[in-house]
Symmetry: C2
Subunit: 236 residues, 2 copies
DNA sequence: GTCTATAACACGATAGAC
DNA sequence: GTCTATCGTGTTATAGAC
């Protein structure tokens, strides 16, 4: 762990000295791609845009990733994994703070899901700023890169949060909870889209609803989620 | 076509006889573009894809629309206008059925918004099947075509439904209602995306939640909307 | 690993015959 | 109003020098 263990690779990587100190080409490419995808989409960015932004030559993507599509896959995974770890950690921590036989609080559970997403989506300096847009793209224009990657990154989140909501809402059947969870994800992604392009809601409400007040958006959405989840199942 | 009637070319459109019986080129282009955009996005479809699907020659889009972007605008408007007319008509009709000084029912108002969208999104034979995807694209990748067109088509819907929800929820401030309305739009668009590509919710719930049962999806979402709208404002 | 150069093709737009 | 042909530019991917 401390010494040689990590260097053994096909051709010996970087002699274990500087990791991301001055960012090697591959890392720069990933960062540049992330930033560009977040503002122009995937089809809207060419490999040349990326390599020139990363100050690499135009063949670098082919060399390091094989294809543009593989690059997209790596970018997406690199964004989704830490975001979901944050969510799951927050949920774990909250669950640990509640007695084992007690009900969970719906809003607290919802907050574990919502806050990390909106917090990073609203921060242009945060890498995960791009993530919600990639997720919306994955939903709207499923390209080849979507396959498996979405499932790998999100199935665990789904299962953990469905369990938590079930524990918060013991009287509600699982099917209803799954529907509402998914609807909530839609609201969350949509709200994340406030933070690129001009947001419609600010214009149409003449600034009364201002996405820039992130804390308020989070509170509003958490409350929205609470009300939606809490109401009784359909009697039909 | 038996004689000379169809040969008149210079000006003089179609001599007012057959309108869309055998679909002139311009109409065929719009239909082909709608279908293609709905499955491959806008950047994913070339003008040549459209003209060949419409069995027109490759210069037809330039001639009839001037540019690809104008075509996109026309496609979007042609889809959004009737959809929103349906929604507004449904709302008008419901409002007319309620005494002037009475409260409106939240679920009924929500249903006017939700049902037309999901009903057409889930029907592949319906032109507006493509609309929700274009709307998601407009949110994710705002291209030049978005400008003004979104506002023209949706501002009235926003204002009318905000008023209706306000009448249904007199104790709630307008700002909160606007937030919740917008979150609800996110859920609705996301739910519409069930109907292209493979839907995640069916897989992950092992078929327990099946988008193919459109009536159920509508009921679930209407109920979700009711619960979310109804709960009290944030006390803070 | 980095670079130049280019292959091989797709794009939107348009000119001009019919 | 429809067609062919093509212009100019863009794309991804790759071959080969260093």
């Amino acid at each position: 762990m401390t010494s040689v263990a990590e260097t053994g690779k096909g051709t010996r990587k970087k002699s274990a000295s500087k990791m991301a100190v001055d960012a090697d080409t591959k890392t720069r490419l990933i960062h540049a791609a992330t930033a560009l995808f977040s503002t122009k989409g995937i089809d809207g960015v060419s490999t040349r845009d990326i390599t020139s932004a990363a100050k690499a030559n135009s063949a670098a993507i082919g060399y390091h990733f094989g294809s543009k599509d593989n690059l997209v896959r790596e970018v997406f995974s690199a964004l989704a994994a830490p975001m979901n770890r944050t969510r799951l950690d927050a949920l774990t921590q909250y669950e640990a703070s509640v007695p084992a036989d007690a009900q969970l609080d719906i809003e607290q559970v919802a907050r574990c899901l919502i806050e990390p997403a909106l917090r990073s989506a609203s921060d242009p300096g945060h890498d995960a700023h791009a993530l919600s847009r990639l997720l919306l793209l994955a939903r709207t224009l499923p390209g080849p890169w979507v396959t498996n990657v979405l499932a790998e990154q999100y199935d665990e989140v789904f299962n953990r949060f469905i369990s938590a909501f079930s524990r918060a809402l013991p009287e509600l059947d699982r099917e209803t909870i799954c529907w509402r969870y998914d609807f909530l994800v839609g609201s969350l992604l949509y709200a994340s889209s406030y933070y690129y392009g001009q947001s419609r809601i600010a214009r149409i409400t003449e600034g009364k609803c201002d996405p820039a007040d992130v804390d308020n958006v989070i509170d509003q959405l958490v409350h929205f989620a609470g009300g939606a989840m809490r109401c009784g199942a359909i009697g039909r």
